[in-house]
Each structure stands twice: as structure tokens, then as C-alpha cells.
């Protein structure tokens, strides 16, 4: 704390706490969160620089080297049933996996935030309608939505994203709505209303910026959920279509060879596990960080 005295006025006190650096300092004190962040960074880097990192093409088959074990013939992690380099496929697989996770969550957020804010702030009829719609969406298992979409259109990355995004919509709406309702009762929002600030301004300037933190936490939890969901869809053949690798469809094809060549199932499994774990650890860390009672 530093005190600078201005004549005739209360001294200006700087409490050097919840500034931006303060966040990082507090974040750093939570090893699981730091590990989670590191894991997420690794996955993102791998996905972005896949063409540079992958030793070989993920789709080029070498029929002379089918299902070779790790370390054989220059294949660090072996090859799959079509003789494609497993490591390269894992690296490229991170792209579609991450894409589904991030885009599905983004889709859910983009739809949920305006709906949630409006129903939390205005309550009344808007709220009723929004919540009933959310209940209806929630009543359909997301698998059903995904199967439906795949049946009507055809299985594709885009449809996986839409299905998973819709599946996450009710949860995200509820979060945004709860935040908006809590913020609406805060004195600073009441003050804005009393002052005659327009609703539009209140929503954009007071409500939205103050709910970013909990939304970020929600995103860090729903990305791994979407990743797991996409793996499940791929496993059922409804997800990303071969030959494009995704960890889910790698896992799906590997089941045939589980008995003799377990590594081609184990490796994408581990990749999915570690990635979701990393996001979840990061999410828990962020939650603690933004929780005022933990400060």
C-alpha cells in the first residue's frame, strides 16, 4: 500500500491487490491449475503446428507396415491397420478434437448469453419462455439430437458441432441467467436504472462484462465435455469421417484390433483423457480464482 497525500483531499490509497498481475500470482499458487493450463497450451500448440510437428502424413498408408508396434521402422508410436503413422494421426487428430470442443462451446455461448441475460434481467414472460425451451432441449438426450442431425443431413464435423453446441445450450443459458439475475440485484445495476441509463447500455456495459469470469469458467468445463461427446459420436460413426483423423474415430476403428494390437486404442484414449483432464483442472483453477471468497 502506498499513500500519496493530496492537500485538501482524502489521500489516494493504492491497494496493490486484485490487479492483473495479482491474478497470475494467485493462479500460480495452485499447482493443479498450472498443470491444467500447461496441458491445454500443449494441446493447442500441437493442433496449431500439426503440419510442422507430425513426422509423416496422417493419411498416407504404407501397406508394408501395417499394425507395427511402437518404435518399429521409424514409427515412434507404431502404425494402424492401414499402415498410417499413429503419432502423426494423433497429432492431426488433436485439430478436429479441439475444433469440436471449442466451436461447440462457442456456439452454445453465443446463443446462451443473450438469452440468459434477457431472461435473467427482464424476468417475467421472457424468462418463462426461455426456461421452458431450455427444459425441452434438456429433455432430449444429446445423442438423440446428434443421431437425428446425422440422419437428416449426414455425419460431418459441422453437424457434430451443432449437436454438441445444442446439447450444452441449456446449461449455459442457466449460468448466464443466474449471473444476470444476481447482477441485476447488485446496487451498481440498480444505480444505473435509477439514473435512467437505457436497458441496452445496462446489459452491455454492466451485465455482460461482469459475467465474463463465470462464463469463462463454464467454457473451460464445457470444452472437455464436448470433446468427450465428440469422441462418443465418432465412436458410433456419427462424428468426423475417416480418413480425417480424430481421436474418437481412431478409437472406434481400433476396437477391432484391441486384442492383438491394444496400443492403437490405448493411445487415443490417453490423449482424450489427458486433454479433458487438463481442461478440467484449468476450469477448477479459474473457478477458485474468480471466487471472491477464495481471495
Amino acid at each position: 500500500m502506498s499513500i500519496a497525500t493530496v492537500p485538501g483531499a482524502e489521500p489516494v490509497v493504492t491497494i496493490s491487490t486484485p490487479s492483473r498481475q495479482g491474478w497470475w500470482r494467485r493462479f500460480r499458487r495452485r499447482p493443479p491449475a498450472v498443470i491444467g493450463l500447461a496441458g491445454v497450451v500443449v494441446v493447442v500448440v500441437v493442433a496449431v503446428f500439426a503440419p510442422l510437428l507430425a513426422p509423416q502424413s496422417p493419411v498416407a498408408s504404407q501397406f508394408g507396415h501395417v499394425l507395427v508396434g511402437p518404435g518399429v521402422a521409424g514409427h515412434i508410436l507404431g502404425t494402424d491397420q492401414l499402415g498410417r503413422d499413429e503419432l502423426s494421426r494423433l497429432i492431426y487428430g488433436s485439430q478436429s478434437t479441439l475444433e469440436v470442443g471449442v466451436l461447440a462451446t462457442l456456439l452454445a455461448m453465443v446463443l446462451a448469453v443473450p438469452i440468459g441475460i434477457a431472461s435473467g434481467y427482464y424476468r417475467g414472460a421472457v424468462d418463462m419462455v426461455a426456461m421452458r425451451v431450455a427444459d425441452v432441449v434438456l429433455a432430449f438426450p444429446f445423442l438423440l439430437i446428434a443421431v437425428g442431425l446425422a440422419a437428416i443431413f449426414k455425419p460431418s464435423l459441422q453437424n457434430v458441432i451443432i449437436a454438441l453446441g445444442l446439447a450444452q445450450l441449456p446449461g449455459s443459458i442457466r449460468i448466464a441467467r443466474a449471473e444476470a439475475m444476481a447482477l441485476r440485484e447488485q446496487d451498481f445495476v440498480q444505480a444505473a436504472i435509477v439514473t435512467g441509463v437505457r436497458d441496452r447500455v445496462i446489459l452491455f456495459r454492466h451485465l455482460f462484462p461482469n459475467m465474463l469470469s463465470p462464463l469463462l469458467v463454464q467454457a473451460s468445463v464445457s470444452i472437455p465435455a464436448a470433446i468427450l461427446g465428440s469422441a462418443l459420436l465418432s465412436f458410433l460413426g456419427l462424428g468426423v469421417q475417416p480418413p480425417t483423423p480424430s481421436w474418437g474415430n481412431m478409437l472406434a476403428t481400433a476396437q477391432t484390433y484391441l486384442y492383438n494390437d491394444p496400443w492403437i486404442a490405448i493411445l487415443p484414449g490417453i490423449a482424450i483423457f489427458l486433454t479433458t483432464l487438463a481442461f478440467n483442472l484449468l476450469g477448477d483453477g479459474l473457478r477458485d480464482l474468480f471466487d471472491p471468497s477464495m481471495r
Binding site: V12, D187, F188, A192, V194, T195, G196, V201
Partner: protein, 332 residues
């Protein structure tokens, strides 16, 4: 009476409790009438649950009253639609109790104080800047705070920012809801002095809501005392503090401990027994009768009307106000 800045006439505010807790009707405010003249500070004093804050929220139209009439500057605003209300909002401003939650944590002081100006269409950036810095200076803050965020300020400084936001539009009426009860004594003194000074220099009228009689005594021209949603006594400051007539007011005065051991220990304590009953089912007759040592059959059956005590507008809602009051509550 004409020429009043604010007139509240038989205001009623009922809430419906959530169905989970029975769905009872809570009668937060029952038939409250009051008026505030030009440049007058009216204190609204009461304990938790007396409805004093609800009255304030109705006046600033954060709530729409169940019944009654609120007239600001001759215009009825009781159920005015949001669009019509907007220009009037610039004339009625509010200061809140909690200096922590009443400022948006993500806005700088300059942005916070500028917000009312922008909301009411002040065109030029330069004009806004000048008005903001002038107001900030007026509430006793240095220009150094303009670019700071609320969490970088002390409680007293934040409350000054809240005051600057409320006064930047030079409103005619200020609703101050317990503005000093969250502050320490030494800081509180500064805010009270400031409020008194600003009122004198700017001339606004003020509804000052507080639970602290000593604060009301220091600052207010007139004081209204609320109990269980009703105003039980209203009088000029001097009459209320020197010659209170309602048993509840007298009990409040007796209950507040004096910061002087000699006086405090020698006074006869006449504190009401028990606690206020629930607002979902206020007692019949006079709402104070279950706790009042003077209560008789009439008090138990018939709700008292406001009795005129003096020509200076001293009213007390008590059947027995005429009788010489000698309130001696036996200690329980």
C-alpha cells in the same frame, strides 16, 4: 400543500413471498404519506423490516407501488412508464448503503461518474470531462482518482464516488439509503459533513433513510419514524428529539446507547420488550400494541389515525398521545 418537491400519498407496497415459503403477502409499506419541501432533508428512521428502504425504492421507482400516489414536482410518477420516466430520473438520484457493491467493479471512477451524463445525452466529450472532474472535486476527491477502479479506493472514497454519480446531474431530489452505516466513525463524519455542505450549496431536497437516530439528528430538518410499514411519528428535528410523543419513538431514543458513561448509566431505560411481529400478519389495531406498555383495549382493536401534536406538523399515530406520556417500562 403545494410547492413540495416530493409528495407521497397513502403509499402501499405488498410483496408476495415465494410459494416455497408459503406465498404469504408481505405488507412492507402500509399507507405511508410524507412530503419533502424544497431544499429540505427528511429523515426516514426505522429498524430492520420497518419498510423504510422500500419507501425509497418506490420513490425512485425501482419498485412500482401496489397502491397510493407518488408526486414529484407536481407530476405523478406512481406508475409512469419507463420512457416517460427517463427525463424525470435525471432529477431524482440515489446513494446506496454499500459502497462496495454500488459501483461497477469494471469501470473507472471517471466512467462511473460520467454515466448519468451520457444517459441523459450530454453531447460533447469535453463537457462531460469538465462536469465529471468538477463533481469529483466537489465531493472532496482529488483528480487522481478519476482513472482508478473502485477496488483501489477506500470505503469512504467509494461512497464519495457514489455521491458524485448521484449529484453530477444536479438533481432536485436525492434518496440516500443508509449512506453512512457501512462506514467507520471517523470516515462517517466526513461523509455527513459533506452531505450537509453539498445540500447547502446545491440546494437539493433529500430523503435520508437511516436506522441511526444520532445521524438523523445531526443532518435532518424533519424526521419520520417508521414501524412495521407505517409512519408512526413525524416532526421537525427539534420537536422529535426533544419532545417525542409516540411510545415507539421514545423507546428508540432510549435504546440508542449514548457515548457518555455518566449519562448512559444514569438514564432510566425504557426499552420496549419483545421484537417487531412479522410483516405478513401485522397485529390488528395499533401495530405497536403487543409491545406497548400503554396499550389498552382501544389500541388492540382500532388502528390509530395520525394525531396532530403541534402546529409545526408534528404528527403521532397513537391513541394515547393526548394523555400525559409517562413511559415507564418495567424491565423484563
Amino acid at each position: 400543500m403545494s410547492g413540495q418537491v416530493l409528495e407521497v400519498d397513502r403509499l402501499r407496497m405488498e410483496f408476495r413471498a415465494p410459494r416455497s415459503s408459503g406465498g404469504h403477502r408481505v405488507q412492507a409499506v402500509r399507507d405511508v404519506s410524507l412530503e419533502i419541501g424544497e431544499g429540505e432533508i427528511l429523515g426516514l428512521v426505522g429498524e430492520t423490516g420497518s419498510g423504510k428502504t422500500t419507501v425509497g425504492k418506490c420513490v425512485v421507482r425501482l419498485l412500482t407501488p401496489t397502491a397510493g400516489r407518488i408526486t414529484f414536482d407536481g407530476k405523478e410518477i406512481t406508475a409512469m412508464a419507463a420512457r416517460a420516466l427517463r427525463p424525470i430520473r435525471s432529477q431524482i438520484q440515489m446513494v446506496f448503503q454499500d459502497p462496495y457493491s454500488s459501483l461497477d467493479p469494471r469501470m473507472t471512477v471517471a466512467q462511473i461518474v460520467a454515466e448519468p451524463l451520457r444517459a441523459h445525452g450530454h453531447p460533447s466529450r469535453e463537457q462531460v470531462r469538465v462536469l465529471v472532474s468538477r463533481t469529483v472535486e466537489r465531493v472532496g476527491l482529488s483528480a487522481g482518482v478519476l482513472e482508478r477502479f473502485p477496488h483501489e479506493l477506500s470505503g469512504g472514497q467509494r461512497q464519495r464516488v457514489g455521491l458524485a454519480r448521484a449529484l453530477v446531474l444536479e438533481p432536485r431530489l436525492l434518496i440516500a439509503d443508509e449512506p453512512v452505516s457501512a462506514l467507520d466513525v471517523s470516515v462517517r463524519a466526513g461523509i455527513l459533513n459533506l452531505l450537509a455542505d453539498l445540500q447547502r450549496s446545491m440546494g437539493f431536497s433529500c430523503l435520508f433513510i437511516t436506522h441511526d437516530l444520532s445521524v438523523a439528528e445531526f443532518l435532518c430538518d424533519r424526521v419520520a419514524v417508521m414501524y412495521l410499514g407505517e409512519i408512526v411519528e413525524v416532526a421537525t428535528r427539534d420537536e422529535l428529539f426533544d419532545d417525542a410523543r409516540h411510545p415507539y419513538t421514545r423507546s428508540l431514543l432510549a435504546a440508542a446507547p449514548l457515548a457518555d458513561p455518566v449519562q448512559q448509566r444514569s438514564r432510566t431505560r425504557s426499552v420496549l420488550p419483545g421484537e417487531p411481529p412479522s410483516t405478513t400478519e401485522p397485529p390488528p389495531g395499533c401495530s405497536l400494541h403487543p409491545r406497548c406498555p400503554l396499550a389498552d383495549d382501544r389500541c388492540r382493536q382500532e388502528s390509530p389515525a395520525a394525531t396532530v401534536v403541534s402546529r409545526q406538523g408534528h404528527l403521532a399515530r397513537c391513541h394515547r398521545v393526548e394523555e400525559q406520556l409517562s413511559l415507564e417500562v418495567s424491565r423484563p
